[in-house]
Symmetry: C2
């Protein structure tokens, strides 16, 4: 699969590296593709990854992964250009600047905002409810896979999102339509609160148990 | 401990039965204490349980468990009378009548409404994020305990809530101040969506994994 990644921070970098290592073609879209940090990321990712501008990465991918800090998200989508028809994996969380809570919720969600901004994109909310450390290693204890909830309105796009989650070790679970990002973004906030405010650290993750 | 339970439906009935079987004194507060349904519940709960009016159960308990359907909650608290100083376990969820979503969220929560209505009560949000079937048996597979998140502003009240969760088999996890019910009520909605809309059934539950 050809995967463009908007943002090469902790989340985008970790996901892109993992997918490149699984054999996908990955392009990181960043403001400055030539920095040492980006070059290090490309070396870690192996031969399947390259870097370009945000617009180049967006054009490159049939799947585009949105992994920007919330305040940069709207401008990044503007820079990305036309995403119509592409699968857009929204990994963002609409966090307040001080991480104390969410900017939006209940009557809308970050994902629904993203869908408004990225006209025609097939948005799936995913990879938002856990830390990048868990994305690098989603197996706990005796192989228990961390659950990755996802939400979207396009069944085929959700299937691709689920596959990409499963390939890197998560157990994907369909959490319904895109509007249910109103539930998954508070779940991310719960993780953030437990990890940092409650000082449990980032070695925690949600799993859906089944009888 | 003396525990009053407001509402003897699935949640209140299951919790009260479990606590009575653990040796606590339980009083179910119901509109009609003499019905066959209530008598059956008392028989199942064993010698440690009795039934009375809502006001009697509220007066009886040093811990009062609020397990009403959302539309009945405000009136039940009015009927309960003075709850100042009591630990009030809020197990409700502010569900829309058709269970499609939450009535309130993001800028407030059901728990914060409850705290406004029950002046002076030491409110803890707990037992809202899973089904009553899991309350009857919170152990999955090889003894994995379902996580029970709770939120509140009174540390001692939270300690009591955590103990009551642990006694019946949950792994309690402190999710912060009462305002974080804004995260735990969407978590309940996610469970409801997965169990019913996604047809996964009620044999599912959230667990917080730790490395």
């Amino acid at each position: 699969m050809q995967i463009g990644i908007i943002g090469a921070g902790n989340v985008g970098g970790t996901l892109g590296r993992a997918w490149a290592q699984k054999g996908h073609e990955v392009m990181f879209g960043v403001r400055q593709p030539k920095t040492g940090k980006v070059q290090t990321l490309l070396e870690q990712a192996g031969g399947g990854a390259k870097a370009g501008t945000v617009a180049e990465a967006a054009a490159f991918g049939s799947v585009v992964t949105l992994a920007t800090p919330w305040p940069a998200t709207r401008e990044a989508l503007r820079t990305a250009g036309d995403l119509a028809g592409k699968v857009l994996l929204d990994c963002t969380n609409p966090l307040k600047a001080d991480f104390s809570g969410l900017e939006v919720g209940h009557t809308t969600s970050g994902a629904e905002q993203v869908a408004l901004w990225a006209k025609g994109a097939r948005v799936v909310k995913i990879f938002n409810s856990t830390g990048f450390e868990n994305m690098a290693n989603p197996k706990y204890g005796k192989g228990a896979a961390v659950t990755m909830f996802f939400a979207g309105d396009d069944a085929a796009a959700k299937g691709i999102a689920a596959q990409l989650a499963r390939e890197i070790g998560f157990e994907p679970v369909d959490a319904g339509p895109l509007g249910n990002a109103r539930l998954l973004e508070p779940l991310a906030m719960l993780w953030i609160h437990l990890a940092f405010a409650q000082k449990q650290g980032t070695g925690i993750a949600f799993k859906l148990l089944r009888r």
